[in-house]
């Protein structure tokens, strides 16, 4: 059983996500991790932007904040600096966090505020109907790339690393135990931790690219004999009927970790206890 279910707001369930949506699996893992780590969520805040991913904070009975499109990290920065005693977790999507909110992501990473940012990466704008995202792989079809995506996708983890995040990891909905471990490590980390989570949009991205239903998409994340290691793993290739690679090869696991004082510590904020400065 998942002890995290006790943390759900029963009146809000069932959630709004589509059948087979990978985001639900990430929520499943996240509440499990929260239940294991925190006896009470009194001092835990979950801050989200706008989009399918960002809706999930509303299902967790904590201090939850559903903000504007792309700006979750700015709200979280303010909250954390005002309340350094709290644990602040940011839930964002690829469009939210890398498109409209990309600027906030790089600056949050640069500042190294003690936040944990979980980016649900399904390579598309789901809530608005499956449009091209900054993470859509080249040539993939979306409702706004009917001839295939002409652009190149962001590597969110590389971006966060370059911007100065002190913990960067990538997991996938398909490997809940790995994701569990990565979220745990990210929450352990002092400083800005960033977890890029590959999930699936079955209704739009899956359908547009003829990738099948929830199970098919989920299993497509697994086409690899390569073991997930701490350092590197191949993300599987999946061909669509037209022969291009839907899934780019991406590294999995903890991709970057470094030690740098947090902004709270540098500012000498009282009440900032984790790690005692």
């Amino acid at each position: 059983m998942n002890p995290g279910k006790a943390l759900l707001r029963p009146d809000m369930m069932p959630h709004i996500l589509c059948p087979g949506c990978g985001h639900g699996i990430v929520l499943n893992v996240l509440i499990r991790v929260l239940a294991r780590r925190y006896a009470s969520l009194d001092k835990v805040a979950l801050v989200a932007g706008i989009g399918c991913s960002s809706r999930i904070v509303g299902y967790i009975d904590a201090n939850t904040l559903h903000t504007t499109h792309g700006r979750a990290l700015s709200f979280a920065t303010g909250l954390k600096l005002a309340r350094p005693d709290m644990t602040v977790i940011v839930v964002t999507g690829d469009g939210d966090g890398l498109g409209i909110g990309g600027n906030h992501l790089i600056h949050a990473a640069r500042r190294n505020v003690d936040l944990t940012c979980i980016l649900f990466n399904n390579e598309t704008y789901g809530m608005t109907g499956g449009q091209l995202a900054p993470t859509t792989v080249t040539q993939a079809y979306t409702t706004t790339s009917p001839y295939g995506n002409r652009e190149r996708a962001f590597d969110a983890a590389l971006l966060a690393t370059a911007a100065g995040a002190t913990f960067v990891a990538r997991g996938q909905a398909f490997r809940p135990d790995l994701l569990d471990d990565l979220l745990d490590q990210a929450l352990d980390h002092r400083g800005f931790s960033f977890v890029d989570v590959m999930t699936d949009c079955t209704e739009y991205f899956g359908r547009k690219n003829a990738l099948g239903g929830g199970s098919d998409l989920l299993f497509s994340q697994s086409r690899s004999d390569v073991e997930v290691t701490r350092d590197l793993n191949e993300w599987p290739q999946l061909q669509d009927p037209h022969g291009f690679a839907i899934r780019e090869t991406l590294a999995m696991g903890v991709l970057h970790e470094s030690d740098r004082p947090t902004l709270e510590a540098v500012m000498g904020l009282s009440g900032y206890r984790r790690g005692e400065g």
Binding site: M1, N2, K5, L8, M13, P14, H15, L17, C18, P19, G20, C21, G22, H23, G24, I25, L27, N28, V29, I31, A173, F174, R175, P176, D177, T202, G213, G214, S215, L218, F219, S222, R223, S224, D225, V226, E227
Partner: protein, 289 residues
Amino acid sequence: MNDPAQMSANLVVAGVGGQGVVLAGNIISEVTLAYGLDVKKAEVHGMSQRGGSVSAQVRFGPEVHGVLVEKGRLDWIVAFEWAEALRWLPLLGSHGSVFASTEQVIPPVSLRDRVEGKVRYPLEFTQHPRIRAFDASGLARQAGNVKTAGVALLGALSSALPFSVEAWHQAIKEWVPAKAVEVNLRAFDLGRQWQSAPPPRPVPVSELVPRQVWLSLEESWCKGCGICVNVCPERIWRLNERNVVEVQEVERCTGCGLCEKLCPDLAIDVVVESASAAAWGGAKLWQPN
């Protein structure tokens, strides 16, 4: 202990893809060869990708003919994963033993070669008193690399066999990559020590074997995506005419928890022994026994 040169036995190494099952079988075979024994080894890893079911049957003795172990003739099961141990129980002889890792590996990808769901777990065998389980992964981590869990299990197995430590070490050196020799030897020794030392807490079989499983489904949350249907190694879920999942043949549930962890709707709970059914009032419950 028996004279190693006259020893004959049947064993199976079982696990999932990526755990080193074939390698372990090779090491055991190598050891028996060092004592001049005849050895036959059969591997099943056809379609298994990472996480798929893999096994290696090893038969050795002064003279061995058939390659496959017959029902009731299996002496040892070395299981890297729980559900895989259960799979082999029907073949275990009355004096047979199981060395198993207590870690439950969630093998999401294993499922493709399990889809037929033909395996039935005979409950009577799960009560077998000679199941010995320990945290092989923990020992492996202690040795320095979690991937050496299988070799740690071999260490445990080795204490039940009459072959010398040196022979085991030699076989390990021959089969593992040069840079991994040291960590594997450490894991082997730790596994062997575990077996020779009394276990810190004798674990009753009933606790180890996840038979007391309840499955609970919050029907109103299920959106019928079918992930559990496809992901269950035993194929116990199906979508009914209302496009909501329900359980068939619940007794085949091993409690691996895969459906629970991969359910995007958070509708499934797999409760292994810890909670009473009463705690799940309201939700649909299945109880295998």
